[in-house]
């Protein structure tokens, strides 16, 4: 009988400690998400007042979801994202891994300089990077097109129909390699050197060490960077928006987030934009969970 009050007393403290986190979570995450879901079921509809009538907010049920899910433009955006992602994600991760391995290689020189040089583009704001590359893509300001023109080869259509995906992906790769490299490099430094010694005693070459020891051991970092890259791809917005005024190739709904922004602030349909945002968020969550499930065993199995 005496144990009971003690148990009660014990049960109060955890709540107290967890309260700030819960409050912050509720105020800055749960409530906004709830509000977005609430908004997504609303819509501005005309009432009879005024000379043209007045638009007022009413409950419209699932109208906005139906409209979003039946809008080919929204899905076309995901199609473009897929092409963009297929170019940018493997390139970013591949180059990041390559640079990290090179930096980790005992024989490489000027490591500090190389590391900084590769990392610096990450510190350049996305909009600046997009403008910078945009100028290098436009025929009359592009140094590359200048060279090819002087050589009599004509201009390179960086911002044309075929060039737009690699051109935009290039901006992301340029900016993203440094960050991902640092994560993988940090992970590489954490591998105990005994493993390398053991491998060398067994007669493994540097190439084999990289392939059979280093890469499997940095797999968790690769999964992490892969996940970041995937989510980053789903959230692409800045680069195409900045480059948009330079080319008719990029429409106002080129990627899902541009579609959402346009609905919310150009077409003044916050409710429709909320519905699309909810769908995008749920989609991102599902894809992330699936990716983690698929890769978990491979990535974290060996570490446990």
């Amino acid at each position: 009988m005496t144990a009971l009050p003690r148990a009660e007393r014990r049960s109060g403290a955890p709540y107290l400690f967890v309260a700030p986190a819960v409050l912050l979570f509720v105020a800055f995450l749960a409530v906004p998400i709830g509000y977005a879901i609430y908004l997504s079921a609303r819509g501005l509809r005309l009432t009879g007042k005024g000379i043209f009538g007045t638009r007022e907010e009413v409950f419209v049920g699932l109208d906005n979801y139906v409209k979003t899910l039946t809008d080919p433009g929204f899905f076309a955006g995901f199609g473009r994202l897929a092409i963009y992602g297929l170019i940018s994600v493997p390139l970013t991760l591949g180059l990041a891994l390559l640079f990290a391995l090179l930096l980790d290689h005992a024989g490489s020189r000027a490591k500090r300089f190389s590391r900084t040089a590769i990392f610096i583009p990450y510190a350049v704001p996305g909009v600046t990077a997009s403008l910078l590359w945009g100028f290098m893509y436009l025929p009359s300001t592009s140094p590359f097109s200048y060279l090819t023109r002087e050589l009599g080869l004509g201009e390179i259509a960086f911002l044309g129909a075929g060039g737009i995906y690699p051109s935009l992906a290039n901006i992301a790769v340029w900016g993203g390699v440094g960050f991902n490299m640092i994560i993988i490099f940090t992970s590489l430094r954490g591998i105990p050197s005994e493993l390398y010694d053991a491998a060398r005693i067994d007669g493994a070459s540097e190439w084999q060490i990289a392939w059979r020891v280093k890469i499997p051991l940095v797999a968790p970092a690769l999964v992490l960077t892969g996940l970041f890259a995937l989510i980053g791809t789903l959230q692409v917005y800045g680069e195409p928006t900045t480059v948009k005024p330079m080319t008719p190739e990029i429409s106002g709904d080129w990627v899902p987030l541009m579609h959402i922004y346009r609905d919310a602030f150009v077409r003044d349909d916050l409710a429709l934009a909320s519905a699309a945002s909810v769908l995008l968020a749920v989609g991102t969550l599902v894809v992330s969970v699936v990716l983690l499930k698929v890769t978990q065993k491979r990535a974290f199995g060996g570490m446990q």
Binding site: R45, G50, F52, E249
Partner: protein, 441 residues
Amino acid sequence: MRITRLAGSIAVLSTAAVLTACSSGTSGSTTSGSTSTPAAASGPVTLEFWCWGTTQKPKIEAFNKSHPDIQVKHTDVGGGSDTAAKLLTATRAGNGPDAACIEYDTLPSMIVAGALADISAHTGDVKTAFSPEVWNLTSFDGAVYGVPQDVGPMVLVYNKKRFQELKIEPPATWQDFAKVAADVRKKDPETYLATFAPAEFGNFAGLAQQAGASWWKVQDQTWTVGIADQASLAVADFWQGLIDKDLVKAEPLLTPEWNNKLNQGKILTWPSALWAPGVLYGIAEKQAGDWAIAPLPQWKEGDDRVAFQGGSALAVTKTSKHAEAAATFAKWMNTDKAANAVQIELGEYPASLAGQQAASTSAPPKLTANQKDYWDIATKAAQRTIPHISWGPNVSTASSAFQDAVATAVRDHTPLRDALTKTHDLVVADMKTTGFKVAGP
């Protein structure tokens, strides 16, 4: 719309020197207009005011000096479409400003959103200060939703020096325009007479209106949408022909690419409006004096009409607690001599008749500094603008739909007229979803 904003921001750079001279000179000259302030009962009224552009600051300083009872606090929340978007959000949240600048084409959507106050009770004394077609831009069925600020009658801005080099004359009709365009391509294969910009909704609307199109009409709350009417389709076909024959180049305006070509003399004209010389001066300062304006080509020989492109009015919001003071402010800003003088100085074409009169005796803008008949052509353009142009309740939707559809058409080489039909369908569907009665397809 994007352009008028640009015009403003570029004017900052080019006329900063003039600005200081102006603001010091205006303080003593605020004699005309309504200086009597009705809201003097309980200390000075403070008005929140949102507007973009370089003319606002000196005008407001002069207003505050001459109106001790009304003090205006100015915030630049961004160009035309940004201000409109923010105004909608803020008034819905109940914390909007008292007054704001609104572009003419977005006025109806603001009215439908219930964001603006009818100030007809306070504007009786300034109605005659504007021409009827200008006044019609802000008044609907007797209700007045703003005082016109600046207008952009359309003209052809052209590089006169290059025209003389190539021995060509500004075209009088659009048919001539096509011929001159072909001539230019023959004489200098690197040069185009003009470009066709897929994103310029307001420009295309103006050209279509000139051809007789009526994109929106409303009677007894029933709308008629004509974005793909015969006149508009004919205009689309005209540009289609020029693009297909490589007589004009389809590419966006005011990009580094475009600016560069313009500076190299490879783009010779910009069919736009009276604010354009200011914009071009900002990107091609070296060509100051080389350019001139000509009347916009006509669709039929002997015709004599143009549309407006761009321009804005000063509106009072519904959430304002000082509607009368705000109306006084709106009137002063656009009819007072000192205010008009600032506009002219900074390259804005005033909406008021007196302001336009004053402009006609001032020096031409720097880009066209050598053109003696600049203001004659400008005044004529202003006098022959088409009356009763009305805009719809979802112009921003129409604009974004137009940009996407036309950009796609230009990219995929599909007909421009189909892009117009697509825009039309989307606009009508959007209006029907919201609950507007729309006549016809």
